[in-house]
């Protein structure tokens, strides 16, 4: 696990901020035309992302619904304390106790870009839209989850304590 990777800051210089704002403005006109630059910039500190991607805390109840929704893909690989759901995966660790094992900051980075912890991981980077190969037409330039969805899921996972 390359600890140097955690120190890399993604704070954007002024020029990029302006470009970012321009893209935001443009995306108001062309909502479907979201592109990689439309992702909220985030800063990695230590082995996590300390600040909420939306600037606000997520909603844990909504997060639970998202974790159980197949479209978010969590329970295709993970299992967890979800007695009402039959078809869970065992490709990845059980989410029970995730809130004990990881801080909110670590959970956020694990969702945003788990490859920073292990470059060979099979866990997708849920908040990334560049450097990918042959992305399906409907998904080009879009992260798997929105910033708000990441925050909701982080808020829920933090409640999973033994």
């Amino acid at each position: 696990m390359p600890s140097t990777g955690f120190k890399r800051s993604r704070r954007t210089p002024l020029a990029r901020s302006i470009a970012f704002i321009a893209v935001l403005v443009a995306s108001l006109a062309f909502v479907s035309d979201a592109c990689a630059e439309g992702l909220v910039p985030y800063e990695i500190t230590g082995n996590g992302i300390a600040h909420s991607l939306t600037g606000a805390p997520g909603d844990a109840a909504r997060g639970r619904v998202l974790v159980l929704a197949r479209a978010t893909t969590c329970i295709l690989c993970h299992s967890g304390p979800f007695p009402e759901t039959r078809f869970q995966g065992d490709l990845a660790p059980d989410l029970t106790g995730a809130g004990n094992r990881w801080t909110v900051s670590q959970l956020r980075l694990r969702l945003v870009d788990a490859s920073r912890f292990n470059p060979d991981t099979i866990m997708p980077s849920y908040y990334r839209a560049d450097g990918l190969v042959r992305v399906g037409r409907n998904f080009v330039g879009k992260p798997v989850l929105s910033a708000a969805e990441i925050e909701d899921i982080v808020a829920y996972l933090a409640t999973l304590r033994d």
Binding site: C77, G89, S125
Partner: protein, 259 residues
């Protein structure tokens, strides 16, 4: 202790010299059949309950039906498929010298239609191409897979292997991440297989019909949210060839049944 472990590791390494990282050792390969429950196995094993056999019967009828402006049936050149087609599907995709590339069994059937029957090619995944393909491949049931033996196929096998190990799509996953590294684990409750294509075309309960290996590959690509290659694309043929060569020696099961 460490010494003996080193010897054991060295022996293992020496015994499998051609194995690339992540590849499944030859004696550990398993058909998708072995991952299924008893009911689905029974459905495949009994020809009277195997829905794929309906396609095989349709294919048998098509085999002797004249088609195209040449007014010829498959049987007019190839005779009794039970003799002439035995073992053929086990060698596909096969290198075509005229085209200088490998072709799938479906493509070979359509090349026969256009070149020898002067008939229009059958669309991919149409009932007739699946039926003919199933009928031809059924003649190889129990025959050991032998695809990729032609030295000219090698660069295409290599291309297929590269594609198999290439991460792709919004979920950024390669075939190998699941089918070499995590078979027998469960994805959304279903066992992940080794992707040994022993029974195509096969009847998939999820599809409620027979389907080709290309259809299966395309649905995996869609699953990782990648742009699936078009039917017949050289990349899909290369992947199919790599998978068949990876399953070399395993017996054909066509028509297999899968969940």
């Amino acid at each position: 202790m460490i010494f003996w472990r080193a010897i054991a590791a060295a022996t293992l390494f020496a015994a499998t010299p051609a194995l690339l990282a992540g590849e499944i050792p030859s004696d550990a390969r398993r058909s998708g059949y072995s991952f299924m429950g008893p009911d689905t196995r029974a459905m495949q094993d009994d020809d009277t309950s195997n829905p794929g056999m309906l396609f095989v019967l349709d294919g048998e009828a098509l085999w002797t039906r004249k088609a195209g402006s040449a007014d010829k049936a498959c049987a007019d050149c190839h005779g009794d498929a039970r003799d002439s087609m035995k073992g053929v599907a086990a060698r596909y995709p096969a290198f075509d010298r005229a085209l200088a590339r490998p072709v799938t069994l479906d493509q070979r059937i359509n090349l026969c239609r256009t070149n020898h029957q002067q008939a229009t090619p059958l669309p991919y995944e149409s009932r007739d191409i699946l039926a003919l393909s199933a009928f031809v491949a059924h003649q190889s049931r129990g025959v050991a897979i032998a695809a990729g033996d032609d030295p000219q196929a090698k660069p295409f096998i290599d291309q297929g292997r590269t594609l198999f190990t290439q991460r792709e799509g919004q979920l950024n996953l390669a075939c190998t991440n699941c089918h070499d590294d995590n078979f027998d684990r469960r994805l959304a409750g279903s066992p992940i297989t080794q992707a040994q294509p022993t029974g195509y075309p096969l009847y998939r309960l999820e599809w409620q019909t027979l389907g080709s290996l290309e259809r299966r590959l395309r649905s995996c690509m869609t699953g990782v949210r990648a742009q699936a290659y078009d039917y017949g694309a050289p990349e899909l043929v290369a992947l199919e060839l790599y998978l068949m060569s990876r399953a070399r020696g395993m017996p054909m099961e066509t028509p297999a049944v899968r969940p």
